[in-house]
């Protein structure tokens, strides 16, 4: 029975599309614009050459691409490294400025504190001939 089934299936080879359909379909098919290859990507070219006849050229192109990419990558790394050192210098400078500002502020507060203490003592016990209001004006202004 299996052989019979197979031979029946083989008779299916006689099935053909009608000529009318064939012509109609062909006309409809070619009525649309042709799918021209507009731009082939670089990797497509490499793959095509590698898998088709010109294997050597394909590999050469692939190797050249890898080398160029490595060179570009190396350049970018160096650029980044240079950029990083410049950044570090700037940060150090900024920290120094802040440090100086903090020291100057401390000195100012230390000096002014002594003066204020002395003046407050004078207000507490005003010397003869000086009024408290006069001393307060001295402290405040």
């Amino acid at each position: 029975m299996e052989d019979k089934l197979i031979s029946i299936l083989k008779t299916g080879r006689s099935i053909e599309p009608s000529r009318a359909f064939q012509e109609r379909s062909r006309r409809a098919l070619f009525a649309i614009p042709s799918p021209q290859r507009t731009s082939e990507s670089f990797w497509h070219i490499i793959v095509r050459y590698t898998t088709a006849k010109n294997t050597r050229l394909g590999f050469a192109l692939a190797l050249a691409t890898i080398l160029v990419m490595m060179a570009i990558n190396n350049g970018i790394s160096r650029w980044n490294a240079a950029g990083n050192s410049a950044n570090q210098e700037l940060l150090l400078e900024a920290k120094n400025i802040e440090f100086k500002i903090q020291l100057e502020s401390a000195n100012y507060f230390a000096d002014s504190a002594d003066e204020v203490t002395a003046l407050l003592g004078e207000i507490k016990k005003p010397p003869k001939g000086q009024s408290t209001d006069g001393l307060l004006n001295k402290v405040l202004f």
Partner: protein
């Protein structure tokens, strides 16, 4: 495989309609047969066959040979079109198109005399098989493709294809013996 196929494809990819026309003439009959055996009506087979070649024409620039025959690519498109067709439209094969009683009677006679089987009867009985089983039987016995080519088209191993073929034949014989149809 048509003679000078690679050159034809390459020129067709650059928009040469006459080259694609040559490929169309060569591959339309097998693709049409394959689809016709899987759908219900001739008109549906025509529509789907046209869609296969339309997709191929529109996507030809994406086709890369890579040791993959052009015919295999067309069969892959055809398989997907048929899958989409059944996804959209629930098939009501036996009642609409086939005379169930007639085929059943034919199977019964065949079981006794082994003489009454026809292509239409087998086609009807094949609807009981899975899509993969149908595809393997059609590609192997109707189109005489090798197991390797079928495996490539279906994305399976050759061993898997042989197994599907064996099971498909067993299932088809069983269906024909019992006269079960959809």
């Amino acid at each position: 495989m048509i003679e000078g196929e690679e050159q034809l494809i390459e020129r067709a990819r650059h928009g040469d309609k006459s080259c694609f026309s040559a490929l169309y003439d060569y591959y339309l009959p097998p693709i049409y047969r394959f689809i016709y055996m899987k759908v219900t009506h001739r008109e549906e087979a025509e529509d789907l066959s046209h869609e296969v070649f339309l997709s191929a024409w529109q996507n030809l620039t994406r086709y890369e040979a890579q040791g993959f025959p052009f015919g295999s690519w067309l069969y892959q498109i055809a398989r997907n079109k048929v899958i989409d067709y059944y996804r959209v439209k629930k098939p009501n094969v036996s009642l609409e198109h086939f005379d169930a009683d007639l085929i059943k009677a034919e199977f019964t006679i065949e079981a006794k005399a082994d003489t009454a089987l026809t292509l239409e009867g087998v086609r009807g009985a094949m609807k009981q098989l899975t899509p993969d089983q149908q595809d393997v039987l059609l590609m192997k016995f109707m189109e005489d493709l090798s197991h390797r080519d079928i495996a490539l088209i279906m994305g399976k191993s050759e061993g898997a294809v042989r197994l599907i073929q064996h099971r498909a034949l067993q299932e088809l014989k069983k269906t024909l013996r019992t006269g079960e149809i959809a």
